[in-house]
């Protein structure tokens, strides 16, 4: 039967074919698009708003500000915790807060109108961190919150004082978990369509919980809840981001009410990153006590939670996290203190795990530290203290089942724990961490309840109606499996409509891992009621007792008699309107959580998870790679194994992101990494295949014995990785994410540059840098803010008037005029335009210039690469031999056919191949061109994301990287006022191949410029206005050099943190002769490490010490910022690695790329 079996997920056909309609795909007649005006200030008073100019524009249908909305505070918790209005009323409290909104015929008109709304602000001092928000002398963010404390909870569970007195050892530590974002693939989006005649609000909304949206929109717009109707729509990911209403639903609804037309509001990706609620950052002071035998006695934790500017889930996240501290293991006592502090940043919210990942990171890291001090095995100490079935935890959770011990034992076996303990300190290591989580929490009004309905149709099909949503969790599939099981019909004879609030019993949606237990029970009850009616009806017809009737194969059967269940519909007394309609539900018997003490058994069952991971830490760069993950679960009976594995794999990879890269980074209250590119979340190549394993067993409280599963897979992951890294390196990282800079000194000794005192050329820069934290930054920041008002919030680039499509270089350069821009692949120019960094009035398309796509060997054996050759075409050509059979070489006829080339690719070409394979993504490589890659603008996150920095705003503006985040993508050598680098990997590679570029302009001879002379600053070149880079030439002798390219990135496809290219010749004795070494993303321009080259000449590739000395010789000239000195070490490591690989090519041990 369907339960426990693998079934294809509900609507897979529509979701894999593009047919599924998400909110972003909904089109209504006359639909408008909305845009939001957002605060540019972290904290300011709103003195006045004038929207008259926006209202006057043709094509604008509605404009709303706070005065157009009822004076109702938004938020699900209600009462004193409701601290936010839909649009800011008198004050803005974070950059990106909603101030006004526009609905217009087109997005362009909406953007234009938003730009014309005049808001007069009076800036207030901002508190950007919990430290800044703490008294004395701190700005007050909300009048009601004394000292900016939104909530402070001090609790004791058990007897912590007595327990502490029994401890033989106490370990203490401070742990940090940084803010992270959900990164749903579908951004927050809504279509609102107000029907004035029916006085009814129709909503299509990307949510996990339609009920909360209806409730909130009704409240905020002073409608009755039954006037607000949600419709079924596919939902593109939630993870907690969409567990409650945001502000966008009410904004779209209010706009629609104002103009009487449908309105679509879809947040763009930057808004999604910068303005929606994220994972709360935690600073955790924790101590754990134990007896000498490893028995835990107590914990003491003090947590500061950065709430951001408003309460969303903050109060309950902070409280739930501290409860976890008391509950994962048996303890005698636990004292917890949680302080939730307002800051002038985007608010936090519910996010898969709900505070549990933060607390578990601290607890499970510390438990390893404790085991180390006691000399105990790290799994043994966990087994000793594990909760067992039948336990009641310190906060009153009654564990009807608890497979923690079995999970630990299974994880130990699967990862090969015992055999790998000897790896300690080798760079390879294993770690383990455990977690406990609820299966739904009875925490809100109506949350003890779930309900559903089924219709049985005369054709025997079963249609489920469920008011909750499925954001990808598999809820719909599960409901159908349960209905099929209870009613004895095929899975394919069931269907489900979700989210449709009309005529569907109320359900609170999918959050708190309640989907399986709450909704599963509810569906089993509903379908079970229908099954009883069918059995009774059949029994009456057969003349037998109902208990003897069995539902199977779509029929009711007894003693050889059978009837299709569809035929029973007409016979059942309960049927009406041609169907049998049955409603049912689940009312959990568990406690409501006691809001004052935190005590209570408020979830029906508690799931357990243990993860074991194996990591490999690179000695050259300190980069951590996870090579294996085993996630073992006690989630009771697994109802849908395929769905369960998917939930675990997704959660674990999200946890790996949190462990190794993900972090929302703010500077001056503004997010600096609001894009997939800048926010380091895992790609396919960054992670292993997760092994998910499920214990056998059932919990009597769950439907068919099931417990929750959706969140727990993420909870232990960061701790497990940190523990594995500590095992591999001996370094305990207590501050997530574990980026290579935090392991500095492990793989290689830190390299020290020559003292700045001895380098007069650096004195000026050193002085300026010294002054930055001593007031200079503040002064420059104020000037830059004041002088230009505000950085562009809205992409308001002027429209492009025309697109020229020249056919020759001459036509192209002749078409150029001031304000025009050459357009090659478009992968940088169009993005830069969106970021307000380019506003061409005319585009000159280079893709039609045939000669720019030439790609051929020169008569002398060099390589000629037309500037408009795509990176993918170059890659295909270089890897030879000749064009692939099914992929005709577009350059055939111009390019020399290499299929007959017996030598295959030359060593220098191979270096370019490996460089290209690691450059961006396959899709980008199909579009981006060689010329465009060389000429792309700098990638500094400040510059790209609206900071009015030195390079954007001029000399009175600061370089935000000096004091801001600069660990990865800023210069460690040669930086002056701007710390950005030239981002092109290709430039670094071509530099060691002595490549030249050809530049053309009208009425002049083309000029040849060596790649090394092309740059005069970070992503800035010697090109004159209108000059066109037409080709790159690699000389024949350089192609013959032994060459290799190495690159360190945060994730696969990212821009380089640093890169190294080497190209060398060996003389007849085997010593290094002519050699080139270049470093990328180290200096403003691609950097030739000439000191290293000098040392390498005459060196042998087998001379490890000599190579090592040479590789770090360049570093004496480095002048890193405060936190990027580690890049110097890593770059030395990359040079060595590249030398080894280049050398290996000489003896032919390198397989062909």
């Amino acid at each position: 039967m369907a339960i426990g079996h693998r079934v294809r997920p509900d609507s897979w056909e529509a979701r894999t074919s593009g047919a599924a309609k998400y909110t972003t795909d909904i089109r209504r007649p006359g639909m408008l698009v909305a845009r939001i005006l957002r605060s540019p200030h972290p904290h300011a008073e709103i003195r006045a708003i004038d929207a008259s100019k926006a209202r006057a524009i043709d094509g604008v249908a509605a404009v709303i500000t706070a005065v157009d909305l009822p004076k109702v505070a938004y938020m699900h918790l209600g009462g004193a915790f409701s601290d936010r209005t839909v649009l800011a009323r008198d004050r803005v409290r974070f950059i990106g807060e909603e101030v006004a909104a526009v609905a217009a015929e087109t997005i362009e008109t909406a953007n234009q109108a938003v730009g014309l709304i005049d808001v007069t602000y009076a800036a207030l001092p901002a508190a950007l961190t919990p430290q800044q928000a703490s008294p004395p002398g701190t700005p007050s963010i909300h009048d009601h919150a004394v000292g900016n404390v939104a909530l402070e909870v001090n609790r004791s569970y058990g007897d912590p004082d007595q327990a502490r007195s029994r401890a033989d050892i106490v370990v203490t530590g401070t742990y940090h978990y940084r803010p992270a974002t959900h990164l749903c693939m579908e951004p927050h989006s809504v279509v609102a369509d107000w029907d004035p005649a029916a006085e009814r609000m129709n909503l299509w909304v990307s949510t996990q919980a339609p009920y909360f949206v209806r409730k909130e929109v009704a409240r905020l717009l002073e409608l009755e809840m039954d006037q607000v109707h949600t419709h079924q729509v596919a939902v593109g990911g939630g993870f907690g981001a969409k567990a409650k209403a945001g502000t966008h639903e009410a904004i779209a609804a209010a706009l629609s009410m104002q103009c009487g037309r449908p309105v679509r509001l879809v947040l763009d990706r930057a808004e999604e990153f910068a303005t929606t609620a994220s994972r709360h950052p935690f600073d955790i002071d924790l101590s754990t006590g134990a007896r000498a035998d490893g028995t835990l006695t107590h914990r003491d934790c003090s947590v500061v939670v950065d709430n951001g500017a408003y309460n969303h889930a903050g109060p309950s996240v902070a409280v739930f996290a501290t409860m976890v501290a008391a509950n994962l293991y048996r303890l005698e006592g636990c004292r917890t203190r949680a302080r939730l502090v307002y800051t002038n940043k985007q608010p936090g919210a519910s996010f898969r795990g709900y505070g549990n990942p933060q607390m578990t990171f601290a607890m499970e890291s510390q438990l390893d530290e404790l085991a180390g001090k006691l000399g105990m095995d790290r799994i043994d100490i966990r087994i000793r203290n594990a909760n067992r079935a039948g336990d009641e935890t310190l906060t009153g959770w009654r564990l009807s089942s608890a497979g923690l011990v079995q999970c630990l034992e299974r994880a130990r076996a699967e990862i090969g724990w015992d055999a790998k303990q000897h790896l300690a300190g080798t760079g390879r290591g294993v770690g383990v961490a455990a977690a406990i989580h609820v299966s739904g929490a009875n925490a809100f009004e109506h949350s003890e309840h779930s309900a559903a309905a089924v219709d049985i149709h005369p054709d025997g099909t079963v249609h489920i109606h469920f008011a909750g949503a499925d954001a990808g969790t598999g809820q719909a599939t599960l409901l159908r499996q349960i209905a099929a099981t209870e009613l004895g019909v095929a899975f394919d004879d069931t269907a489900v409509t979700m989210m449709n609030s009309d005529g569907t019993p109320m359900d609170l949606g999918a959050w708190s891992s309640r989907g399986t237990v709450w909704s599963g029970h509810c569906m089993a009850d509903t379908a079970g009621r229908a099954a009883r009616i069918l059995r009774e009806t059949a029994a009456a017809k057969f003349g037998v007792a109902a208990s003897r009737v069995e539902l199977v194969g779509g029929q009711a059967r007894c003693d050889g008699e059978k009837i299709d269940i569809g035929d029973l519909v007409a016979l059942a007394d309960e049927s009406g309107r041609g169907r049998l309609h049955v409603e049912g539900g689940y009312l959990t018997g568990v406690d409501k959580m006691d809001k004052d003490t935190g005590m209570g058994h408020f979830s029906p069952a508690y799931a357990f998870c243990v993860q074991a991971v194996e990591v490999d830490v690179d000695r050259d760069t300190n980069q951590v790679r996870v090579v294996d993950v085993v996630s073992v679960h006690d989630s009771g009976t697994i109802l849908n194994p395929a769905g369960a594995e998917g939930q675990v794999a997704g959660a674990v990879v999200m946890g790996l992101g949190a462990a190794l890269g993900e972090e929302l980074t703010h500077e001056e209250g503004r997010l600096i990494n609001p894009s997939f590119l800048e926010y380091a979340a895992p790609r396919a190549g960054d992670v292993p295949t997760v092994r998910s394993l499920f214990l056998d067993g059932a919990d009597r409280a769950g439907p068919y014995g099931a417990k929750g599963l959706g969140e727990i897979g993420l909870v232990p992951t960061p701790a497990a990785v940190a523990n594995a890294v500590a095992h591999a390196t001996g370094i305990r990282v207590r501050d997530l994410p574990i980026t290579p800079d935090k392991l500095r000194g492990w793989g290689r000794p830190p390299v020290s540059p020559r003292s700045v005192w001895l380098r007069p050329s650096r004195w000026w820069t050193a002085t300026i840098r010294w002054l930055y934290p001593r007031g200079l930054h503040r002064v420059l920041h104020r000037m830059s803010d004041r002088r230009t008002g505000r950085p562009s919030e809205i992409s308001g680039s002027a429209p492009v008037a025309g697109l020229d499509r020249p056919e020759t270089v001459d036509e192209a350069v002749t078409a150029y005029h001031a304000g025009a821009a050459y357009l090659a692949g478009g992968t940088d120019l169009l993005v830069a335009r969106d970021q307000g960094l380019a506003s061409p009035v005319r585009l000159i398309d280079l893709s039609t210039v045939r000669s720019l796509r030439d790609l051929c060997d020169t008569s002398a054996g060099g390589l000629h690469i037309g500037a408009a050759v795509t990176l993918a075409d170059l890659r295909r050509r270089l890897s030879g031999p000749g064009p692939e059979p099914d992929r005709p070489d577009r350059t055939a006829g111009q390019a020399g056919d290499r299929s007959g080339d017996p030598a295959g690719p030359q060593p220098g070409d191979r270096m370019l191949v490996e460089l290209l394979d690691g450059l961006a993504t396959p899709q980008i490589r199909e579009m981006a061109t060689v010329g465009g890659n060389l000429l792309q603008q700098k990638r500094c996150s400040f510059y790209r994301n609206g900071f009015n920095c030195y390079k954007r705003g001029g000399w009175t503006c600061p370089c935000y990287a000096v004091l801001g985040e600069h660990r990865f993508h800023h210069a460690v050598l040669g930086g002056h006022r701007c710390q950005a680098v030239t981002p092109s990997d290709l430039a670094t590679g071509l530099l060691v191949l002595d490549a030249t570029v050809q530049l053309s302009r009208p009425r002049s001879q083309p000029r040849q410029v060596p790649v090394g002379a092309l740059y005069r600053g970070p992503g800035e070149t010697v090109l004159a206005s209108g000059e066109l880079l037409t080709a790159v030439t690699v000389p024949a002798e350089a192609r013959r050099r032994l060459a290799a390219f190495e690159k360190l990135t945060r994730y696969e496809g990212d821009f380089a943190i640093c890169s190294a290219a080497v190209a060398l010749e060996l003389d007849e004795t085997g010593a290094i002769g002519d050699v080139r070494v270049a470093l990328g993303s180290i200096a403003p321009e691609p950097y030739r490490a000439t000191r290293t080259e000098d040392r390498l000449r005459g060196c042998r590739l087998g001379d490890g010490a000599g190579l090592e000395r040479a590789a770090s010789a360049w570093a004496r000239d480095a002048h890193p910022l405060a936190a990027n000195g580690w890049k110097v070490d890593a770059a030395c490591g990359l040079i060595l690695e590249a030398l080894h690989r280049a050398g290996a090519r000489a003896v032919g041990t390198d397989v062909r790329s």
Binding site: D25, G646, A684, L803, R805, L823, G826, D834
Partner: protein
């Protein structure tokens, strides 16, 4: 055909001819109208998603000619070769799509159309290395997925390509 080399955009608009999923269509574009908007708003081909607008996530992957490119960074006025979207490719990719459904290759489904198009291109390229997991993972570097952890899509692709 695309826009002729000397065309002026009258009041910013021209009518451009495209071939989408084998059908010649005429659409109105400005010089900067993105292909993804033409597909979604003018042709109602909403299977192609626009999840980042910056070429970072791969949700808008379509084939132009035989190459998988990003419709959010492709200007419609420049497109000369035929365009194929998920709607056109899905009927030819049933084995892959079933494998995705069977092997945990999709959850919310929002990235799935772009993933299917990219995988279809990978398969059509028929290079030897697509049966190797490392190569497949590298091949999917441009398709961000937040739900599956990538194991499902990789397994689906291995299974489909392996045959």
């Amino acid at each position: 055909m695309g826009v002729s080399s000397t065309s002026e955009f009258v009041a910013g608009l021209v009518v451009a001819g495209l071939v989408v999923n084998g059908e010649p269509v005429r659409v109105e574009v400005t010089p900067t109208t993105r292909l993804v908007d033409v597909l979604r708003d003018q042709l109602d081909l909403t299977g192609t998603k626009d999840a980042c607008g910056r070429g970072d996530c791969g949700s808008c992957t379509v084939l132009v000619g035989d190459r998988a490119v990003l419709a959010c960074l492709t200007l419609a006025a420049r497109v000369i070769e035929p365009v194929r979207t998920i709607e056109g490719i899905a009927p030819e990719a049933t084995a892959l799509r079933r494998a995705l459904a069977d092997r945990g290759g999709l959850q919310c489904g929002y990235c799935t159309p772009g993933l299917v198009v990219r995988c279809y291109e990978l398969g059509a390229a028929d290079t030897a290395d697509v049966t190797d997991e490392t190569a497949i993972r590298a091949g999917l570097a441009g398709n961000f997925c937040r739900c599956t952890g990538y194991g499902g899509p990789v397994l689906s692709l291995l299974e489909t390509m392996g045959r």
